[in-house]
């Protein structure tokens, strides 16, 4: 041996991880990150609540007493109540077909399901105008039969379904792919019917992922602005959702009203974020690893 390595007891050196930056650099970077997030994310959120309460609680609640505000709330709830279940059924069906079976063209199908994510909200609304609008592809047909889609509730529902279309499928596909088919096959060999296997084996395995994606889908459905704005026609009391109502109030310089209604949506966003974070911490293993939007 060319050299001796000796280890001796006694003395006490200072431990410092060799794979971390120095203390100064760590403080600096953490400072930059927190300052940046505070300025760009937290401050706007606080502004919403501060502005909403600028003239006190009485003025704040007045904003919700208006009949237009009430009908906007009603419409937003209605739209979400239709579009979220629709996308839920679609998402589960699509994930079942894609995750549990092998067939050609699968990745193309996934790309197509993802498509609405990469389309501008304005374009999302516009394509329905092109189909159902008075000069649209089928516009004449629907007008003849007295069915109004654009500038009416059906158009708002359609546009909302479009922008939230990928949410649930996107979460469930990788999750169900990870879980494979072994458990379902086991259930079938034990004599379960397909539907029974789905309810007793698949569903419990994906429940947290399902809840997670429904939550995000709902938040987007209630908050969508661009796409809905294009198809709504902004008829007060009839085709105004909450985000559109915010816009109208803001443009009328009724800032307290606008921010009061906005605070409702911001509250929804906060609740969504909190539940989402809790789900991510508690059930990280039961959620799909990729594609968190």
């Amino acid at each position: 041996m060319s050299e001796g390595i000796t280890l001796e007891a006694a003395a006490a050196p200072r431990p410092r991880s060799v794979i971390s930056e120095g203390r100064g650099v760590r403080w600096l970077l953490t400072g930059i990150a927190i300052l940046f997030l505070a300025l760009f994310l937290v401050l706007p959120l606080l502004t919403v609540f501060a502005q909403a309460l600028a003239r006190g609680w009485a003025a704040y609640f007045e904003a919700f007493a208006e009949p237009d505000a009430r009908s906007a709330i009603r419409l937003t709830l209605t739209v979400a109540a239709i579009s979220v279940p629709f996308n839920l059924v679609f998402g589960v069906a699509a994930a079942w077909a894609i995750a549990k079976f092998e067939f050609p063209g699968k990745s193309l199908l996934i790309t197509l399901i993802d498509l609405p994510f990469s389309v501008s909200p304005v374009v999302s609304g516009m394509i329905y105008v092109l189909v159902f609008g008075s000069q649209g592809l089928f516009g004449a047909f629907f007008i003849e039969h007295g069915i109004q889609i654009i500038f009416a509730v059906p158009g708002i529902v359609l546009a909302t379904i479009f922008v939230t279309f990928p949410f649930i499928a996107r979460e469930l596909i990788p999750l169900m792919q990870e879980q494979g088919t072994a458990e379902e096959e086991a259930a079938l060999t034990l004599g379960a019917s397909g539907w029974h296997a789905f309810r007793t084996v698949t569903l419990p395995n994906i429940r947290w992922g399902l809840l997670y994606s429904v939550l995000l889908c709902n938040a987007r459905a209630m908050g969508e602005f661009g796409a809905v704005s294009v198809v709504s026609g902004h008829i007060r009391g009839l085709t105004n959702t909450l985000p559109l109502h915010v816009e109208i109030l803001y443009n009328e310089y009724n800032f307290v009203g606008a921010f009061a209604v906005a605070s409702l949506l911001a509250g929804l966003a906060l609740v969504t974020l909190v539940i989402k974070s809790v789900l991510e911490w508690r059930y990280a293993g039961d959620l799909a690893a990729g594609g968190r939007h």
Partner: protein, 314 residues
């Protein structure tokens, strides 16, 4: 070449990382040939560390991986480009991967990655080469080949080397000296012969291979089992009740009259020219005896066993 041997969780890897400067001891110092290296940051320790999973840089070619340590030097100490290229070429020759300079790690097999990791560590001409479970992630055949090859390289370069393993055969075959660790304590350091012939503790003995345990009495020089003397020798200072550990090949089938113990054969199986016979003693305990693949020992046959050696601990 020193082998750090011990069961998992015995602190071998931690010790290796402390020597490298990747972990820090609560107490104690690390000396390199008399120089205190305890306070020296890992970058200045001049160690070559080969990680268990190689930790190759995936985005760099093989040549860039090997040259990394040289390129990381200060400009004044850095060899010229041509010099670096030559060094990389020499090392690739040494590890017999000459044509692989432009490949990427993802295009190599496990054994090839292992050799690249070794070349990368050797490139900086370390004062000590540290290998963490160098063959742990490889399959059996590649493992054997690489073992022989590592010994060859060591004999050619004379590089001070410390490697960690939990495989006794690997440690005994490769090392000039073996250090046996258990539960964070250094149990024994010695040549492979020393640790096998004179294990310092029952832990060392048990870790180095199978053994049968007997209750014995030490009277002066003699070690008695069931009142009969055995050829085992008690270490100085052990008197009275003690434990005798006997390797399977230190037991011999004999006529029951000369036997230290008797029993009946339970089962026997043959493997690679030897047979292992399980003998049940009258009190129900099982003893495993290793014998040449000669006489057949049918189940149920009464046999006598003589103890031909063994190790005594208090």
């Amino acid at each position: 070449m020193l082998g750090l041997l011990g069961p998992s969780g015995s602190g071998k890897t931690t010790l290796l990382r402390i020597i490298a400067g990747l972990d820090f001891p609560d107490r104690g110092r690390v000396l390199f040939g008399g120089d205190d290296a305890t306070g020296l940051p890992v970058q200045q320790r001049a160690v070559g560390f080969v990680f268990q999973h190689y930790a190759l840089f995936k985005h760099m070619s093989v040549a860039d991986n090997i040259a990394y340590g040289l390129n990381a030097r200060k400009r004044s100490e850095r060899p010229g480009k041509a010099e670096i290229r030559k060094r990389v070429g020499d090392l690739l020759d040494l590890i017999k991967l000459s044509g692989f300079a432009d490949r990427y790690p993802s295009q190599l097999s496990g054994g090839q990655r292992q050799r690249i990791a070794l070349a990368r560590a050797l490139a900086v001409e370390p004062r000590v080469l540290l290998l963490d479970e160098p063959f742990g992630a490889l399959d059996a055949q590649v493992r054997k080949d690489l073992r022989r090859w590592l010994r060859e390289i060591h004999d050619r370069t004379g590089q001070t080397t410390i490697f960690v393993t939990h495989d006794q055969d690997e440690a005994l075959e490769l090392s000039d000296r073996v250090a046996v660790l258990d539960k964070g304590r250094l149990e024994q350091v010695g040549t492979p012969d020393e640790v096998q012939d004179r294990p310092a503790s029952a832990t060392v003995l048990k870790f180095l291979g199978d053994s049968v345990e007997f209750e014995a009495i030490v009277e002066g020089e003699r070690v008695l089992v069931d009142g009969r003397p055995t050829p085992a020798v008690a270490p100085r200072g052990v008197i009275g009740p003690a434990r005798l550990y006997v390797r399977p090949w230190q037991l011999q089938f004999v006529d029951p009259a000369e036997a230290h113990l008797s029993g009946t054969v339970r089962a026997s199986h043959r493997s690679q020219g030897r047979q292992r016979v399980e003998v049940e003693r009258p009190d129900g305990r099982l003893v495993v005896v290793e014998d040449f693949d000669g006489d057949r020992y049918a189940a149920g046959r009464p046999v006598g066993l003589r103890i031909n050696g063994g190790y005594v601990f208090a």
